[in-house]
């Protein structure tokens, strides 16, 4: 390793011309260092985006830019470089270079830790020792390593720096990879392999990546867990600032490292890794009060609105997918429309971000094969990115992002002498070559080959066939001669052949090889985008101000019962009246309801259908700090599919892997709205609890036998423990707030108020339960466990909102009714595991008969498409009346979620959420015709045909385009990596078509 490094340094000295202020005198044997004054004359100089000087002179001295302009005298001591026909740009900056990209292994991550399923002290869970296997102090979560400094480990290989220089890059912000809070980046010059000299500034940015599944069975494993861990850690860092003398005292380098970030002295780069998480990253960053930027996932085209709302600069990789070859033509059936769209949209994403008025910086991040950078940049330009924006994205924007805009980014006096020199038509023409770069006033030759005067075909001269020859490192220090005067080397065999090619007869051309075809393609004008926006055709279909449905059978689910031949009037987003005279001015939309049935929108009290990433953060027994609201998936196909079954609202719950699960989120199915736009703003907050087999890991496999709790006894012990901890937590805050807000007499005022207690997101959430601000929805099966929680919570003065599933609820219906707890059950699921052997389809009716507010839920993305038919089962089993049965999926879940003031029945003043059916919705052959939310129509069966026909047309066009371009790509030297990327499934659609339920991902 050391010897390699020595060689690298020596090589750098040999191949570079040093130009330091007072030139160093090296020992004999080394090449002597030349003067540090240079004059670059005759080139077109791009001073900064939008400012171009032709035939200009740039004077460099002592590693800085001394002068730039059209009529500048060449200093007598400067070496003159004639760059006629060249273009000079400010040296390009990669703001998000990863270590592995520079060829050095990323050694920053901590040692693997032992199994942490028994809990982490961080969350107050009894169990494992702190930091098992972690060699030093820091966060107890292995994925939280803000103290990691890239400045400490930067040790690039000459080869990888060369490849970056070839692309014109002169400096880069080297960022840590992997982990969640990853550490600080370092800003380096890409000339030197000696890290001490290369580093321009250390600790430029802190880095956060929303990386799920970081380590199996280790918190945080789910996406929502990641968000919670990020929030808690930053809050801790803030706390550490105000309360440095905590008892017990703590030395925590992780929190210390975050201090500059929370003080807004260091920018934080967030890598959200999906279109939707852009929004979450921005919200979390704003909540903490960070100065931040966002690393594009390349997917912002899905929701440009969210990117726009983030309103911070984006660092944009150019790793676009390419069309791969599929073994069989029929295999195209398994390529999704979304994959095709992602491929077709990718090159347009940079331009699209600019259109949102966002500052954009480009990076080679994500490109294993860096050579694709310029090819992809060209694609981005063809799709609307302007050259001026692109130049800014390579120079001024990244300079500003890294806080180095005084040092780099433009060709202005006083800045570092970092230049990128390109021949021909300039950088944005892929055929043009980067002739050389200057870094800190030193010249670095790239593999640039002077065009041979005898060859007239530019194409041939710059074709890849000579690469082997060209990349040979020159053993001697480069001779610098004026380009025009350089003698042409003897052409190689390959060149000779290539040079002959254009002279081939027309006959020979007729049998053109694929390669030639590909070349012809290159010349073709860029193909326009075929893919539509995923937002096309979504959103409200109509939003009339007044709707009147007449002559319908109306299931009010309110005091009016079922009305036949009735009318209902909807004014804007509310129900104006049912069977009452309607007053209106202006136009009204009339719907003839003859033969039709109108019901309230269906409500699902137990859903996981619109959750981004894992449903469970099952790593530790209490994850009360985790919030479903952070990961609402507004893009999943489930929304439209469930609208098609009359569903208008649902309760998104955390899974059932732990006794105290995450916080829930009630949403309305306003298809097309953003994650925040889906949220049911008036719904009270809640949380998922779970009991029984799942939480004691009965069916997780032999490996899972150590986490507390392993029995139903332990579940009770555990929950009681957390509630007592939360009581103490609340008391601590009360005490503090009393002291902080007390009206002290002047004389008695304490010198220093105590600092605020540490904010603990887990105990805060449980505390809110104790304060009556958060509803418990508890997954449960057996009667004993149901009674256990009921009594335990009564002991804490807590009213449980619902028991979910509650399949043995019928055995203790009186107790549940007396406790005023809702029962949200399955209609007839049973016998799929031991604890549901006693489940009976009469459960709903029986509990209902005994006075429990009963709902039927789905816990499945499929069942949620036909909850009306689930309700019908209450009629069949136990003889619940039809009026009451429909309430199982309308008014009753609304009551259970405490949103019955707004939804659940068709009564004046309530939200206009309703469904139009072709017949009695409890009839198994009924059809949902229309679904309305807030007085807007979101589903119409008649219009859905056209919607899917349009998708089919789009897909066919995309396949055709893909097949064509796949043939062309296969001829080009395209990367296997880009082809694999084609098959990536976006996070937003990962679970489409799959039944999501609460046991998902547990095992």
């Amino acid at each position: 390793m050391i010897s390699l490094r020595k060689i690298a340094i020596a090589l750098a000295l040999l191949t570079a011309i040093c130009a330091h202020a007072t030139t160093e005198l090296l020992a004999p044997g080394f090449r002597p260092v030349p003067n540090d004054a240079h004059a670059l004359v005759g080139a077109t100089v791009f001073v900064k985006p939008g400012q171009i000087i032709s035939n200009a002179t740039v004077v460099l001295r002592a590693g800085k830019i001394e002068k730039v302009g059209a009529n500048i005298a060449v200093p007598p001591d400067a070496r003159v470089w004639n760059l006629k026909g060249m273009n000079i740009y400010a040296g390009f900056i990669d703001p998000y270079l990863t270590f592995s990209a520079t060829g050095s292994p990323d050694s920053g991550s901590k040692k693997d830790r032992n199994d942490l399923t028994a809990g982490v002290k961080f969350f107050g869970v009894p169990g494992a020792e702190r930091d098992p296997g972690n060699p030093g102090p820091g966060s107890e979560l292995p994925a939280i390593t803000p103290e990691r400094r890239m400045a400490k480990t930067f040790a690039p290989e000459a080869k990888s720096l060369e490849s970056l220089r070839e692309l014109g890059f002169t400096t880069a912000n080297v960022v840590p990879e992997k982990n969640i809070i990853r550490g600080t980046s370092v800003f380096v010059a890409l000339g030197e392999t000696d890290p001490n000299r290369a580093i321009i500034r250390s600790d430029v940015m802190q880095n956060v990546g929303f990386e799920e599944g970081f380590k199996e069975d280790t918190y945080p494993e789910s996406l929502m867990g990641v968000v919670a861990a990020v929030r808690q850690t930053f809050f801790d860092a803030q706390h550490a600032l105000v309360a440095p003398n905590e008892n017990p005292r703590e030395f925590n380098p992780a929190l210390e490292a975050l201090a500059p970030a929370v003080k807004k002295q260091m920018r934080v780069a967030f890598e959200p890794r999906s279109a939707l998480m852009v929004d979450r990253a921005a919200r979390v960053a704003r909540e903490i009060g960070l100065d931040f930027c966002i690393v594009s996932s390349g997917q912002e085209w899905r929701r440009p609105d969210l990117a726009k709302a983030a309103a911070v600069p984006f660092i944009v990789p150019l790793n676009f997918p390419e069309v791969p070859k599929l073994p069989d033509d029929d295999d195209w059936t398994q390529v999704s429309l979304d994959q095709l769209r992602a491929w077709d949209w990718a090159p347009e994403n940079p331009a699209l971000l600019r259109k949102q008025n966002l500052e954009v910086a480009l990076t080679t991040f994500g490109l294993e094969d860096k050579k694709a950078f310029r090819k992809n940049l060209k694609l981005a330009l063809q799709r609307g990115l302007t050259e001026s924006d692109a130049l800014a994205a390579l120079t001024t924007v990244p300079a500003k992002l890294c806080g180095l805009d005084k040092e780099v980014g433009t060709i202005e006096t006083g800045k570092l002498a970092n230049l990128t020199i390109v021949n021909g038509k300039g950088y944005f023409e892929p055929e043009s070559k980067v002739q050389s770069v200057w870094i800190d006033g030193r010249f670095y030759r790239t593999d640039f080959e002077e065009p041979k005067p005898e060859s007239k075909d530019d194409h041939t001269a710059s074709s890849g066939e000579k690469k082997e020859e060209a990349t040979k490192p020159s053993p001697a220090p480069p001779k610098v001669v004026e380009p025009e005067k350089q003698p042409a080397p003897e052409p190689t065999e390959a060149e000779k052949v290539a040079a002959k090619k254009p002279k081939k007869s027309a006959e020979a051309k007729a049998e053109t090889s694929d390669k030639d075809k590909a070349k012809d393609k290159k010349a073709e004008p860029p193909k326009p985008r075929v893919a539509r926006s995923p937002l096309d055709g979504r959103g409200a279909l109509t939003a009339p101000t007044l709707v009147i449905i007449t002559n319908a059978t109306i299931w009010t689910c309110g005091s009016q019962g079922i009305l036949t031949n009735a009318s209902i009037a909807i004014s804007n987003d509310k129900i104006q009246g049912v069977n009452s005279p309607v007053t209106f001015h202006g136009k009204a939309t009339f719907i003839d309801g003859t033969g039709l049935h109108v019901t309230p929108g269906l409500i699902d009290c137990h859903s996981h259908s619109m959750i981004l990433g894992d449903v469970n953060e099952g790593t530790i027994p209490s994850t009360a700090m985790v919030r479903i609201g952070d990961v609402v998936n507004s893009e999943t196909a489930n929304i439209y599919e469930q609208l098609g079954g009359g569903l208008t609202a649902c309760n998104l719950l955390h899974g059932s892997a732990n006794p105290i699960g995450g916080q829930n989120c009630v949403i309305k199915l306003r298809d097309g709205a953003s994650p925040e736009g889906l949220k049911f703003a008036a719904a009270p907050q809640g949380i998922k609890f779970a009991l029984g087999e799942n939480v004691k890991q009965s069916n997780w496999g032999e490996k899972y036998k150590t986490r507390f709790p392993q029995t139903r006894m332990g579940v009770e012990t555990f929950i009681a423990n957390r509630f007592i901890a939360a009581q103490r937590y609340l008391k601590e805050w009360e005490h503090y707030e009393a002291l902080a807000t007390a009206d002290y007499p002047r004389s008695n005022k304490p010198l220093q108020l105590p600092s605020a207690p540490r904010r603990d997101l887990e105990l805060e959430a449980i505390g809110e339960i104790l304060q009556g601000k958060r509803l418990i929805h508890c997954h449960s099966y057996r009667q004993d466990e149901i009674l256990m929680l009921l009594r335990l919570m009564q002991g804490f003065g807590v009213q449980i909102a619902t028991f979910q599933h509650v399949l043995e609820g019928y055995k203790i219906a009186e107790e549940i009714a007396a406790g005023k707890v809702g029962g949200s059950t399955f209609a007839d699921w049973w016998a799929y595991k031991f604890e549901v052997y006693d489940a009976i389809p009469y459960n709903g009716s029986l509990m209902h008969d005994r006075g429990v507010v009963v709902s039927f839920n789905s816990d499945s993305s499929d069942l949620a498409r036909h909850l009306n038919l689930e309700a019908a089962k209450a009629v069949k089993y136990g003889g619940t009346s039809e009026v009451e049965a429909l309430k199982f999926v309308t008014l009753n879940p609304a009551k259970q979620l405490r949103i019955d003031k707004y939804v659940g029945s068709l009564e004046p003043g309530k939200d206009a959420d309703f469904v139009i059916w072709n017949k009695n919705p409890l009839d198994s052959s009924s059809l949902c015709l229309q679904t309305w939310i807030d007085g807007k129509k979101y589903f119409d069966r008649d219009q859905s045909k056209a919607r899917f026909a349009a998708l089919e047309t789009e897909r066919q066009a995309l396949i055709e385009k893909a097949k064509k371009s796949g043939k062309a790509d296969s001829a080009k030297d395209s990367s296997a990596e880009a082809k694999k990327k084609f098959f990536e499934v976006s996070l937003e659609h990962r679970y489409d078509g799959k039944i999501r339920h609460c046991e998902e991902d547990e095992q």
Binding site: D328, D330, T333, D862, A872, S924, S925, F948
Partner: protein
């Protein structure tokens, strides 16, 4: 021992012969013919003797005024009987190890006292076909009647089909860096090769079976060439000779097309089970006269370019093209306890375009036909088993309807189950 059995046989024969029962005034869904409203059905010796608008008899009769009378429903491709609680491993008997185990037989492992059976029967399902799950050639299924003291008595017809789980033709296109275990990642090209090899292996197995059977036949006259009795190859006999159907489990359109071609080449009799994408190849299946056991009613669309209702509408599309659609909930052990809901799968298809009489056939006559028992089950016709049920409401496709009587071979079944026992117990909790 022998004499006891003999006496029992005589006794039961006498008891049945004395039995005549008239079901009066029902809406008789004969399935094979017109619906009689009202109609009478006369049962004698466990068989249907007469079906008519009006029958007079001296014997016992039941007035079924307002009730619908249907032939017992038949659920093919299920794991009921072979499983009790999907989450409890000790109760699983539906899946064997090995890619080529044609001599595995489902009917020998049916638990007659499974709590799942009475629940299923109480809603009018009288016959089920537990199927061995597995990969490639997984074994044979028999038709089980939901009445009997022993598994032997319950084996109504054995075997009815061989189960071939068509090799997966879907490629796993997950990029390598997204795969947890990178060592298991395979390129699409390698997967395509593997796919071809698996199909060849499947075909080879059938060709080897054919060769064995030929050799055995020749050996009848020339013992010197006898390869010796091999139970695996023996099990293949009726399928290679197309005397019995092969249920090919295939969901992906590529698999379905490949299976159809394979069957055509070899002149095998096949039925597509699962059939998720079968509606995409409806015309092909109709042309080759291949029925589909449709198991995806209550599953979301498989591709993002399908309409939200593609799986609701699929049976209607298949029927329109000329394919007979049989409904099933599939072989998952998690669904075994819900086979009682078979008619609602069909009802959903009715809402989305399948004619109602076709939906009824899809749960009665069509499954009887592919099981080779249409001479005894599947419709209400003289000569067939008096296996019937009566329900109220708008008929069995209506979820709200309750089944009031179930007869199997003329014998009225108890509708009691674990569900009703627990219901009655806790309904009366003081």
């Amino acid at each position: 021992m022998f004499s006891v059995l003999f006496c029992a046989l005589i006794f039961s024969a006498l008891a049945v012969s004395a039995d005549q029962l008239l079901l009066r005034n029902a809406i008789v869904h004969t399935v094979s013919g017109a619906t009689l409203n009202p109609g009478d059905v006369l049962i004698e010796n466990g068989k249907i003797k007469e079906v008519s608008t009006h029958i007079t008899t001296e014997g016992k009769s039941i007035d079924l005024k307002g009730q619908h009378l249907y032939p017992g429903m038949i659920a093919l491709d299920t794991s009921i009987g072979l499983t009790e609680l999907a989450g409890v491993r000790a109760t699983q008997d539906e899946r064997e190890v090995g890619d080529f185990v044609p001599d595995v037989k489902s009917w020998v492992a049916v638990n007659p006292d499974s709590e799942l059976l009475p629940v299923t029967r109480a809603n009018g399902v009288t016959h089920v076909a537990p199927a061995p799950q597995g990969s490639i050639v997984a074994g044979q299924s028999g038709l089980i009647v939901l009445d009997g003291w022993t598994s032997e008595q319950m084996a109504y017809k054995k075997p009815i089909a061989l189960h071939v789980y068509w090799p997966n033709m879907e490629l796993d296109l997950t990029p390598k860096d997204k795969v947890r275990d990178k060592s298991k990642w395979k390129s699409p090209e390698d997967q395509a090769k593997e796919r071809t090899n698996k199909l060849k292996a499947l075909d080879d197995f059938f060709q080897d079976a054919r060769a064995y059977i030929l050799a055995r036949d020749v050996a009848k006259t020339n013992a010197s060439v006898d390869p010796g009795r091999n139970p695996s190859w023996e099990a293949m006999r009726p399928y290679v000779r197309a005397e019995l159907p092969i249920f090919v489990h295939a969901d992906d359109s590529r698999a379905i097309k490949a299976a159809v071609k394979w069957a055509e080449t070899n002149k095998f009799k096949i039925v597509i089970a699962g059939g998720r994408d079968s509606w995409m190849t409806a015309d092909l299946l109709a042309k080759k006269n291949i029925p589909v056991i449709w198991e995806h009613t209550y599953q979301q669309p498989a591709h993002d370019y399908e309409s939200y209702d593609s799986h609701y509408a699929a049976p209607g599309i298949l029927h329109k093209a000329g394919v007979n659609v049989i409904f099933s909930l599939g072989g998952s052990t998690f669904i075994a306890s819900l086979i009682k809901n078979l008619p609602y799968e069909a009802a959903q298809a009715v809402a989305f375009g399948l004619p109602e009489d076709e939906a009824i056939k899809g749960i009665t006559l069509y499954p009887a036909q592919v099981s080779g028992v249409a001479d005894k089950l599947g419709s209400i016709e003289p000569g067939k088993d008096a296996t019937l049920f009566a329900c109220d409401g708008n008929g069995i496709l209506d979820l709200r309807a309750n089944v009031h009587h179930v007869w199997i071979a003329g014998k009225e079944m108890s509708l009691e189950s674990r569900h009703t026992r627990l219901y009655n117990k806790y309904k009366n909790r003081p």
